[in-house]
Structure formats: structure tokens, C-alpha cells
């Protein structure tokens, strides 16, 4: 039985980089420098032109929005390749009983979120152009609508995959996307209008969630080694940022443990999140952080119920961890299941039938008595 290092040695012993790699690198650096100088001159010239134009034109003009991807010819993938497990939007009660399903969702839809009135469900799914797209569908079922977004935003990705959150009023979606090497948080209208980029740091910004009043997005910053940047942490921290793009992120957690997957309580006063391996809560200002139920709620992606008395979250099934094959771009992923914890009594109810594929999925509340799950089906 060969080990990894031996296979690595056998695979790469005759593979060498170009002997002129350094010279090529230096040429690239010079080209980049030249482009940077040219870009700087162009920016300076543009600034002069803009200033002149602004002075001469007294009336204000509306900001030009980025061009959005023409999705008029794109549809959500209606069928999946052989062997790939499909998902179904399945409604459970808080005790784990299946109540109903929502029709109209694509077969690989994931990362659900629900508007505050429970009427609209947002999701991600692959289109027949091979890209992942945001979509919305009525909670009562119906035809899924694709949300137009710029084509250079990778909303899902081979490794990272994406997450999203529909605004409380159901008119906008906050989502993570990659367009320059790492995930950042964006907001776009469900009709594709008003795209705003909220974060620009080189860390992985992910799991955005709206405040109940729609003014703020809370998310986690995956952390980085570049510790001198104030927007980084080494372990991953929770941040908030104005949803309209008018302000800078504010760091809410400051510790040496991974903090991730935040979400606001329905009254907006608290935030639940995954701290290390357990569900914690804190105030929306980042104070009074503590584990719920003495740390017995082990998992991630917590979501408060509409009356803030319980939290649904997900956790990995104990070893041996079951895996499920998804479409080729996602590969094989571990199964997670949902659980509900009563924040008053600490009682945990495990919804063992509420099985989802990996941690970009979470269980979300449709209303106080119903939890929506992207239930992973055949092939699991």
C-alpha cells in the first residue's frame, strides 16, 4: 500500500518547473508594473475628465450599475447526471415529522433562506450554462425565478460553494461570490437590480444574514494569516456591515476560536453563531457571548425561530460519517442533519430524517411550526 508521500514522490520526481521560470516571472512583473503605471495614468486622466465634467454639469446623474448576466436564455438544470443525489425542499415540524414539500425547486437547489413573512424562499442551484445562480420561489410552490447577476461573479464554486440570505422583505438577496480570488459579500435585488459589494478584503467572507430591519448584514470572515490587516483574524470572526454599502465592516467577536455562521434573532437583539464546535449567542453589539445549553448544542449554522424561543442548527452525523455524491462540480459531500434546541430549557430535539448535503446547507424556519430543509434524496 503506497502512502501519500511516496505517491507524491513518484508523481513529481520527473516534473520540473521551467528552468527559466525566474526570468519569465521577472518579465511578468515588468508587464504588470507597466500596466499598473498605465492604469495609474489612465485613472489620473479620468479623474481630471470627471472633475471637469462634474463642474460643468450641475445636475446629478444616477450611478451606473454593473452589467448583469443575461439569464433570459438560461434555465435551472432540470435533471441531474446519473448517480448524483437530488434534493427536495421538504418541510418538517420541530419534532422531526415531514409535513409537506415545496414544488418548483430545481433538483440540486441548496442554501435556502426564507423572507420574514415566510412567503418567499431563496436558494442556489446550477443553471444549464453550468454556473450556479440565485433563485427565488414562492413558499406555496410555483415556478422558480432566476436572479440575474453579473457573469463574472462566481456564486457557487468548485470548493467553496456559496451561501445566500433573502432580505426580510423579500426584495433583495445577500450572497457570497468570488470574482477576484476569494469570497466577498454582495447584495442584489431579486430582479437583478442594485448590485452592491459590501466587503473587499482578501479574506473569505461568507454566510451573510440580514438583520430583521434589513439595515445590516452579519457574516463571518474566514480568517487569514495576514494579521496586521484590521479586517483579518487568524481564527475567523463575526463581522457586521451596513446592507446598503455605505459603511465599513465592524468586527463583533475578538477571540482565538473560530466564530462562524452568524444569524440575528427575530427581535434583532442577539446573534447566534458557531463558536468552535458549539452554538453560542451574543448581543448584536458583540457582547455577552456565551454557549447555549452549556455547550451541548454542538453544530453550526444556527437559525432562531420567529418567536426566538428555539434555534434550529445542523451537525455532522457521527463517524463513520455518511457521504453523498452530488453533481460533479460539488463531488462527494458529508451528510448533516438538523436539530432544534429550546433556548430556555436546553432540550435538544434531533431531526434525524432532516438530512442535508454538507455545511453550506442549513435548516431554516418557514414559521414558528415549520422548518424547511434541502432534503438530500436518492443516491445517499
Amino acid at each position: 500500500m503506497p502512502d501519500v508521500q511516496e505517491v507524491f514522490r513518484m508523481a513529481t520526481e520527473k516534473v520540473k518547473p521551467d528552468p527559466n521560470a525566474l526570468e519569465r516571472q521577472i518579465r511578468r512583473q515588468r508587464r504588470r508594473s507597466g500596466r499598473s503605471r498605465a492604469a495609474a495614468y489612465a485613472v489620473a486622466a479620468a479623474v481630471i475628465v470627471i472633475v471637469i465634467a462634474a463642474v460643468s454639469v450641475l445636475r446629478t446623474t444616477p450611478d451606473e450599475e454593473p452589467a448583469v448576466h443575461d439569464t433570459t436564455t438560461v434555465s435551472f438544470t432540470p435533471t441531474l447526471p446519473g448517480g448524483a443525489a437530488s434534493t427536495s425542499a421538504t418541510v418538517f415540524d420541530p419534532h422531526g415529522k415531514v409535513v409537506s414539500t415545496i414544488d418548483g425547486m430545481p433538483p440540486d437547489a441548496y442554501a435556502y433562506s426564507v423572507s420574514a413573512d415566510g412567503d418567499t424562499v431563496a436558494f442556489m442551484a446550477s443553471g444549464d450554462d453550468g454556473l450556479d445562480h440565485l433563485g427565488v420561489v414562492a413558499a406555496a410552490g410555483g415556478t422558480a425565478q432566476m436572479v440575474p447577476t453579473p457573469s463574472d461573479l462566481l456564486i457557487g464554486s468548485t470548493i467553496g460553494i456559496g451561501t445566500e440570505s433573502i432580505s426580510p422583505d423579500g426584495t433583495k438577496i445577500a450572497f457570497e461570490a468570488i470574482n477576484d480570488g476569494n469570497s466577498d459579500v454582495y447584495v442584489v435585488g431579486v430582479d437583478g437590480s442594485g448590485l452592491v459589494r459590501l466587503t473587499e478584503d482578501p479574506a473569505t467572507d461568507q454566510y451573510p444574514q440580514w438583520s430583521p430591519d434589513g439595515s445590516t448584514i452579519v457574516y463571518d470572515n474566514g480568517g487569514s494569516n495576514e494579521s496586521t490587516d484590521p479586517q483579518f483574524s487568524k481564527t475567523g470572526e463575526i463581522f457586521s456591515v451596513p446592507a446598503d454599502g455605505t459603511g465599513s465592516p465592524t468586527q463583533l467577536t475578538h477571540d482565538h476560536t473560530s466564530d462562524a455562521n452568524p444569524s440575528y434573532s427575530s427581535d434583532g437583539r442577539r446573534i447566534a453563531y458557531a463558536h468552535g464546535g458549539a452554538i453560542w449567542t451574543m448581543t448584536s453589539a458583540g457582547t455577552h457571548a456565551h454557549a447555549i445549553a452549556d455547550g451541548r448544542a454542538v453544530g453550526f449554522t444556527p437559525r432562531w425561530s420567529p418567536d426566538d424561543t428555539t434555534i434550529v442548527y445542523t451537525y455532522y452525523v457521527d463517524a463513520p460519517r455518511p457521504m453523498v455524491a452530488l453533481a460533479s462540480q460539488y463531488g462527494e459531500q458529508p451528510i448533516v442533519v438538523a436539530a432544534v434546541i429550546d433556548t430556555g430549557s436546553g432540550r435538544i430535539t434531533r431531526l434525524r430524517k432532516a438530512r442535508m448535503a454538507t455545511d453550506y446547507n442549513t435548516a431554516v424556519w418557514l414559521d414558528r411550526g415549520h422548518i424547511l430543509v434541502s432534503l438530500v434524496g436518492a443516491g445517499s
Binding site: 508521500q5 508523481a11 453550468g130 468570488i178 495576514e226 475567523g236
Partner: protein, 182 residues
Amino acid sequence: MALVSPWSVRAEGEIVPFPKERVEGWARFDTFFLDEHERLFKALYFVTGNRADAEELMQEAFLKLWERWDRVETIDDPTAYLFRVALNAFRSRHRRAAVALRKLSPVGEDRDAFVDAEMRADVRRLLSACTPRQRAALVLVDLLGYPSEQAARILSVRPSTVRALATQGRRTIRGTEGARDA
């Protein structure tokens, strides 16, 4: 004997700052490049299975580091930075390649990897049986010695996902018989 060794020994979950004295030794970018590029190239070849891709990703990653070279002392581990940049770029590129491939062939069919290097057929089969995600996890965890927490940040996934990917990759490699004796 490991040809690719950890840059520093780390316990699980521990992050050790990169030694400052080593950073000071890299007064020149080209010295750092010459010290590190072959190791990065081989690791990227192991992940991508394609010599041209590995070369391009390596040079682009070094280019991004070069743009920040005047602040290199603020980067605790430049090598981790290189890997993060290179693997993020590979992720985007792999996704776009998969999109293009879908238009030409049935979904799930992967392009031929590791065909451009002299390699025993059984080793090529072993590597091809792993996905690029699994190979990336193996490079970071088993070859470079990063704890799963740090590998997860480089790959932008959860630590548990890194561990799962590495386990799957090891199982695939170790579960195929005959590679050593073929």
C-alpha cells in the same frame, strides 16, 4: 522520506507564526522565488495534474505576492499565502473549465490528468482516482503539514471538510493495490 516537508511543525489547531529571521533572509524576491518555486510547482502539479496549469498558477501566485513584497514582513507565512492564492485561482479556473467541458461531454467526465509527465501507469491511475479537491487537501495536510484549521482557511472550507477530503484521498491512494510493486 518526505520530499516535501512542513515548513514548521504544528500541532492540530495550532498556528505558528513564520520565523521572522527567515523572512529577513529573503531580502530579495528572486531569492525567495528560487527557494520556493519548485516545491510550489510540484504541489500544484499534484493538484492540477497539468504541467501548464501548475506553471501558470505558480507564476500568478508569485506575482500577487510580489505586488505585496514591500509588506512581506506582515505576512506570517508567505508560503501559505502563495498556496491560498494559487488554490483559489485553481478553484475558479477549474470551475470555468468544468463549465466548458460540460458543453462538450457528459457531466461527470473529467479531462485527462497527469498525461504530460513521465510517470508509471499505476501511479497515474492512483492520482486520477482522487479528485482535485482531495489532492489539494492531501498536499496541505499530509505533505505540507498544515493543521486542518489552517488548511481549511487556505481552501475556504470547514476544517471537517478538509479532514473528510484528506481521508477520502488517503483511502483512494492506499486502497489501490499494486502501485508499489508494479
